[in-house]
């Protein structure tokens, strides 16, 4: 097991009148190479959870184990910050350098690496997000499209060579092309072995990519499993303020109207086949 959260709780501003319990008794294990979608309505504690995983916050109760070592006890949280790369919401707002290459180089330079190694990492990480070094390195990040800016921000995190990549709402605010491009890039990183956690409130596009979905509601993990199992809980998810992918919603509604459909997969093509089969049968 790569990361294990054991009975973790977190309270903002404890012992004040504004005390707010954000997470309660979280038990969550993350295996090497997993691709996890973390979903929940606004205010459910998603961002708090990822900040705990990347040690920007320290649990008020419970412990987090990274590769068998307890963070803060057996291992310094600063080491974990290099291992767990966190891409914040709207990371492009943190771009600042004059060129794409300088922006991506910022992290590795701060690690005190040689310029040669820094350059190598910049090339590698721009390559990993599908931005050709020759075409993008010298451009101003501010001249890029929304999706490209976000890819540069992701490359900046990859240049730190993290073990785990956590992305908070990585496709929010992007248009159709931007979303497709960023999702394909993340999928590719996972195929190449990176452990990935995507935080989202809308699973419609992400559902087809992840192997596992964990659902947060009011600071607790209420569902955790394969996407098709989690999304079959359509009524429950709607109750807590979440949607299911449109394909699932359609199949479920058809089933309620007497069609014989099974929700075996979340993708478009399986849904089409299931509908066709059911329509012919009727």
């Amino acid at each position: 097991m790569l990361i294990e959260m054991m009975n973790v709780s977190f309270t903002y501003m404890p012992n004040t009148s504004l005390e707010q319990l954000a997470l309660q008794s979280i038990n969550l294990g993350i295996d090497e190479g997993e691709f996890i979608g973390l979903i929940g309505p606004t205010g459910s504690g998603k961002s708090t959870l990822v900040q705990l995983l990347s040690t920007l916050l320290i649990p008020t109760e419970g412990k987090i184990i990274f590769e068998g070592q307890e963070i803060g006890k057996d291992i310094d949280p600063r080491i974990i910050r290099k291992e767990v790369g966190l891409v914040f919401q709207f990371p492009e707002s943190q771009l600042f350098a004059e060129t794409v290459a300088d922006d991506v180089a910022f992290g590795p330079r701060n690690l005190g690496l040689s310029e040669e190694e820094v350059d190598l990492r910049v090339r590698d990480s721009l390559g990993s997000v599908g931005l050709a070094y020759e075409r993008y390195a010298d451009r101003s990040p501010f001249s890029l499209s929304g999706g490209e800016k976000r890819l540069v921000a992701i490359a900046g995190i990859l240049a730190m060579k993290p073990h785990v990549l956590i992305l908070d709402e990585p496709i929010t605010g992007l248009d159709y092309w931007g979303r497709t491009r960023v999702l394909r890039c993340i999928d590719e990183l996972n195929r190449n072995g990176m452990t990935v956690i995507i935080v989202a409130h809308d699973m419609d596009e992400i559902a087809e990519y992840v192997d596992r979905v964990a659902v947060l509601s009011e600071g607790q993990i209420v569902l955790d499993g394969r996407p098709k199992d989690v999304f079959s809980q359509i009524d429950y998810l709607k109750d807590i303020g979440l949607d299911v992918p449109k394909t699932v919603e359609l199949l479920m509604k058809l089933r309620d109207r007497g069609f014989n459909v099974t929700v075996e997969s979340l993708g478009m093509q399986p849904a089409i086949s299931a509908i066709l089969a059911a329509v012919k049968e009727k």
């Binding site: 929940g40 309505p41 248009d175 092309w177 409130h201 809308d202 449109k246 359609l250 066709l276």
Partner: protein, 272 residues
């Protein structure tokens, strides 16, 4: 009525000049619920910022109820008529408590404290944040902050509300309740709503859809009419409502379905 007469807008100068809006002619009528769709970089936000005079056209004129945004003396009045809500609430919230934030606008109008209190309570209720009046805004989630920003705009009792990508940070329940709030404001209070978005699933609620591409309006009509030609929309990077995509796939393999489907419920009814 908000009129854009032959409006062009350029960022930068000379060689670096980028044309964000290119000869836009557009009238938003009173009582309309309009959606402006377009990919990133198509000029949506630039267009929104022209509607209340945050940006002044490089060429042409924007006229709100007879007042030109070029007229410095009228600008205050224009901004009272046209409320704006932006994508990122962190840039819009200024006070240290939710209720003070909402009070900021009305206080500047010199309203009676009782009236201000009334507007705070009323608008927080509309956006479902009545239990958060005394909370600190920076402790709220992104979606909650966005609701506070909308309440702040509503507290000014605007005639027009321009909403720039305001649902993109909300969860599905938050965004559908926001959309139904906008619809209610439009229907029950007669507020004209211009919803600027790239989420195509939001068009089903609108009376009118405008599609922006490279600074020009390339489509303008009722949702079903605008979404009759999907290829053109896809080519410019405007997504198509998922229900419609599924319907098209089913039509392609031989099912007989109407071409006007925009929501899952419409598709379910067509299949039954």
């Amino acid at each position: 009525m908000i009129q854009l007469n032959n409006v062009s807008f350029h960022y930068g100068k000379d060689k670096e000049k980028i044309t964000a809006l290119n000869n836009i002619d557009l009238t938003i009528n009173e009582g309309e619920f309009a959606v402006i769709l377009g990919p990133n970089g198509s000029g949506k936000s630039t267009l929104a910022r022209h509607m209340n005079g945050l940006l002044i056209p490089s060429q042409g004129e924007v006229v709100v109820d007879g007042l030109s945004t070029r007229d410095q003396d009228a600008l205050w009045q224009v901004r009272q008529k046209v409320g704006m809500v932006f994508q990122n609430p962190d840039n819009q919230i200024i006070a240290t408590s939710v209720e003070e934030d909402i009070a900021f606008g009305p206080e500047n109008l010199g309203l009676d404290p009782k009236e201000i209190r009334k507007r705070i309570d009323e608008t927080l209720k509309i956006v479902g944040m009545e239990n958060y009046a005394r909370h600190e805004p920076h402790m709220l989630s992104g979606g909650q902050k966005q609701r506070v920003a909308i309440a702040g705009a509503l507290a000014m009792r605007p005639k027009y509300l321009v909403v720039d990508e305001a649902t993109s940070m909300l969860d599905p329940e938050g965004s559908s309740s926001m959309l139904s709030t906008l619809k209610q404001l439009n229907k029950n209070y007669g507020i004209t709503v211009v919803n600027i978005t790239h989420i195509s699933d939001e068009v089903a609620l609108a009376d009118r859809v405008l599609v922006l591409s490279e600074g020009r309006i390339i489509k303008d009509g009722p949702p079903r009419e605008v979404f009759s030609d999907l290829d053109e929309l896809k080519a410019i990077g405007v997504g198509v409502p998922k229900a419609r995509l599924i319907a098209e796939e089913l039509i392609a393999v031989g099912l007989k379905l109407p071409r006007a489907i925009l929501t899952i419920d419409e598709l379910v009814n067509a299949l039954c």
